[in-house]
Symmetry: C2
Subunit: 231 residues, 2 copies
Amino acid sequence: MDAQSPETNPSPWMPFESRRRARDEKREAVLRTAVRLFLEQGYHRVTLNDVAERLNITKPALYNYFRSKDEILFECWALGQEIVDEFIAEIDNGGGNALVKLRKLIQAYAEQMTTDSGASLVRFDARDLTAENQKIVRAAKKRIDRTFRKYLADGVADGSIKPCDPKLAAFAIAGSLNWIGHWYQRDGAWSAEAVASRFAAQLTEGLAQDRPRKRGPATPKKSRPAKGGRE
Amino acid sequence: MDAQSPETNPSPWMPFESRRRARDEKREAVLRTAVRLFLEQGYHRVTLNDVAERLNITKPALYNYFRSKDEILFECWALGQEIVDEFIAEIDNGGGNALVKLRKLIQAYAEQMTTDSGASLVRFDARDLTAENQKIVRAAKKRIDRTFRKYLADGVADGSIKPCDPKLAAFAIAGSLNWIGHWYQRDGAWSAEAVASRFAAQLTEGLAQDRPRKRGPATPKKSRPAKGGRE
DNA sequence: ACTTTTTCTTACCCATGGGTAATATACGGG
DNA sequence: CCCGTATATTACCCATGGGTAAGAAAAAGT
């Protein structure tokens, strides 16, 4: 990422840079392999020999990049969490009322659950981590949960969502979404986006205050987005 | 094993019976302890010494009742599955249209998820079992899934449920319910029945075909929401 | 009381797998 | 061409924990 000064030095830092990049690439290759194996077979059934073997190296070579097996697990998890934090920030700063934001969040989260790094967020057991990393994981889960609850509570407040208990509704939605990480497989009949948009629609259908039935306590501004909730 | 002469002894089988019952009770005590520990700490972090210690016995004593650790795990799972199979049969043979049956199923399944034996159905990893037992588990999960899909498909057919994809809807519902096994704790603010009825209501709100302008979907029998709920 | 059967304990085996030490090999820099 | 560093390998350590063998202790049967 650094600019090379081509005149004075052809590339004094180039080797260094390329070397560091090579290292980072290898590190990520380890994580990609590990996350795959962990999901396929489960953390405890995967040995570091297994991981190394699939990379055509030997176990101790892994220790050039990681200090322990559980650190590998943690980094796998962090890779997925990073993405979640990104789109949460994006949605949070974006436009739309609470219901729209909720739909966006469901859509993005559902898509993430169809990926390896997404599935690792729900299929890895945090108790396999060190106490410190468990704290980090707990904090991250709390962040996600808070976001769901916030949108739900805001939606109830601004009238875009029917009165409901945000905590319970958040659990219900999160459960549906997390479950995707357990059953979805890429070679199935549904694309990730298709699943995500169906879930975004279905999970909010029961919540949306889209027509003032008897008592319309708030402004029913939203028409009905039947499908394809991407905006 | 041999038949005793029944006349000479008032109850020659009594000792035998009480002995067998005592044995069964001990066996179940092992399972109760094991399931608790497995849920608390995770299967792989629980040693048979841990299980034995909590029962005030020693590890080899366990082998009088079980052949292996994974057999204990399987029996724990089977205990929970048995209950599910029972209420599925009951609901299936009971009355009501598809939507009603679906609500009953959600209610019963949700309640089951708040118990140890219920949570073990979703929090245990079937890959820890032998190949044969994995098959049994897969078959059981399939049964549950089929039931959900059937009620959904039937409901779409008889008009009590909005048109939807039964497979996807079943996944969404099952995900919400299974997730209960991960977050519910008995000492929380919600009773098992309250959670179950709220879920039964919320999860079907978006599905119910309320065209004939019947009243809102489920009439909750009890609810203790933190905030004042409308229903 | 004596034998038999069941249950449980003490003492052990040993495969597994995470992690380390010592060492070899590739590789960029001078 | 040689040196230093990063990277990888071979060979090993050893704690863990599932599982077993042999025999004591407690019931049950006679």
